[in-house]
Amino acid sequence: MAHVAFFTIAAIAVASALGLILRPNAIHGALFLVVNLGSVAALYLMLGAEFLAAAQVIVYAGAIMVLFVFAIMVLIPGKEESGPDTHRGARLLAAPVGGLLLLLLIFVVVGRWSVPRGPEGPSGSAGAVGRLLFTSYLFPFELTSVLLLAAMVGVLLLARRRAG
């Protein structure tokens, strides 16, 4: 049963990722990416990471994708990527190189999959992850807030219209 659910969700994730990189329209790509992020959130749930599944839906599929859709709507006047492709040969080479990379990753990770199992998987509830974030990872957590503030100031500076 779990296998059926996994393979269904995995097929949706791979298909939507392919849709993202193959459809010429950027807004279709953004919607495919939302589907992909949602299916990965479902996989988090299957792995017992409930807090991350919720954060994935809220932060990625919510906030980040809204930003993307806004940027696409503001920037893309009709069709994009028009005009002759001057690097077509190099781009066609991407498919075999990507396949090679995939084989390499699978070989490295699965070929050495002999590590002993740890103890029974912990619960990824908000309480457990939060306790970890506010004890062992307190300093990086505070640094993250500084990073977000810096990003916010930087974006305001970049997106401001120059006077005159």
Binding site: A2, A71, I76, V109, E120, G121, P122, V129, Y137
Partner: protein
Amino acid sequence: MVPESYYVVLSAILFSIGVVGVVIRRNPLVIFMSIELMLNASNLALVAFGQRFGNLDGQAVVFFVMAVAAAEVAVGLAIIVTIFRVRRRLSVDDLSVMRW
């Protein structure tokens, strides 16, 4: 119970698709979305490994990756908007310099 290695293989597949997307597309927004795909694939691998080894540190790292990705997207989109304002067209092939 699905073995964790399945999740890692799926993560490798998604990561490779993201790499190919970065290479074959000319629209910087789609390239950005492919980078998000790669970050997401690595997050999935982190959670799967954390589950395998029975600790929560992988999930804490994923949380930080999400926060950094949010900051990165905001800054990156601001840069793209600024470039578009100056150049009036959007293709990575003519963006070889950051200053003009």
